[in-house]
Symmetry: C2
């Protein structure tokens, strides 16, 4: 980011440049061959070094995956944030419009980067998955954005018209977990509102994954965008009904 805060020796600089090349090569490999075809050795070849040498940088295949995951999370969150703030100042603005912008941006990103989406929301890496400390920071940004939108919508009194089904009978352990999240994220709203946000977000991911993973059949995949748009509008009712 900044060229001269700590001098940062040329050694460390070269290192972080190879690291950058690694995620770059990893991403192209991901795009071309899918997550299953991601090979540490192949990346080493791309870097022009022998297979064993790359373990100075990544340590294990799972670590490489984690690298690509945080990269993808950040990229996704960036485009979503951009779209949301374009749909109104992040504090003000119509909550529903902001949710639609968020959902549409998510769809667009997923369609543009299906393999990366798969990496994020497909089968998790067994017993590794998300070393929470590393991924959470960027991994929860979209969810937090949904939460803010839902909170604003609730404040404007648009929640509770019927979308709140189920949130009235939350178990106490759920409520307390939600409250701890709210405190952590610094959002002041009812647990039921966060619950709606959580559900809307999970549903959004599900609807998008159904498209990216081709679960609706080949015919549906061809017109995926036309299906996703109204689905996003439907899910908007969960947090910000008209």
């Amino acid at each position: 980011m900044d060229p001269a805060p700590h001098p940062l020796g040329p050694r460390a600089l070269a290192r972080q440049r190879t690291m950058a090349r690694i995620v770059e090569l990893g991403n192209t490999q991901l795009i071309e061959q899918g997550v299953a075809g991601l090979s540490v050795r192949e990346i080493a070849r791309g870097l022009g070094m022998v297979s064993s040498a790359i373990y100075r940088y990544v340590g294990s295949r799972d670590e490489l995956l984690t690298l690509l995951i945080v990269d993808a999370f950040a990229d996704l969150a960036d485009s979503v944030d951009a779209a949301v703030s374009a749909a109104g100042t992040s504090e003000g603005g119509d909550p529903r419009a902001r949710f639609l912008a968020l959902g549409d941006a998510m769809c667009a990103w997923a369609i543009a980067h299906p393999e990366r989406w798969t990496l994020l929301y497909g089968t998790p890496v067994r017993d590794y998955a998300a070393p929470a400390d590393t991924t959470n920071a960027d991994g929860t940004r979209v969810m937090q954005a949904v939460l803010h939108i839902a909170a604003d919508a609730a404040e404007q009194g648009s929640i509770g018209r019927g979308a709140a089904s189920g949130s009235e009978d939350l178990a106490p352990e759920v409520t307390s977990l939600l409250e701890s999240h709210l405190a952590e994220f610094g959002v002041e709203t009812a647990p039921a509102t966060e619950f709606a946000a959580l559900t809307a977000w999970s549903s959004l991911v599900g609807v998008i994954s159904a498209h990216v993973f081709g679960q609706l059949g080949a015919d549906a995949a061809a017109i995926g965008e036309h299906i996703l748009r109204p689905q996003v509008r439907m899910l908007a009712d969960l947090v910000a009904p008209r």
Copy 2:
């Protein structure tokens, strides 16, 4: 299934018994090691034969996966069907109650068989995924159940109160695809209703996957069932509001 329709020589019988053992071994392997740890060679060892011999039966690893996928789809659909019909005759009965039964059964199955759920709704097998002809039969059963419920609910006039956001502006190509589905499944209802059913189903899958894949964090995973129950009730509003 049946012991004496066509005589079915002892040769073919032995063959289909080994096939059964293969999916049995595959499932235990799946449960214990996850989909990534599924190995053709290991199954061969379990069968007491050398690694190359098993290729007389499966042909490729992807074929083995497909075998396990159709098995899991059938199992899931069976338990869902059982739960739904227990909640009222499949034709009559309160649609909302039936949807809740369906959703809860899906959650229960997923929690009981997380690795098999992952196989069904996690990362698809690249360029193989669902050889439609083989998987579709059982793969769409749950979706069809949701569709029937939604159709019944629509007939009783409970749809359209607000849950139908988005389904009013369906693109013509989407409408025609939905109509062809309806014809194929033999269900008579409005495309908008099927659209709601489709969205509810995808959302359900998303909400469950979020839990199974641990996307909500370790704390949430511990109390997953308490989270899923109200989420199912929330999604019920999409097809059968109270």
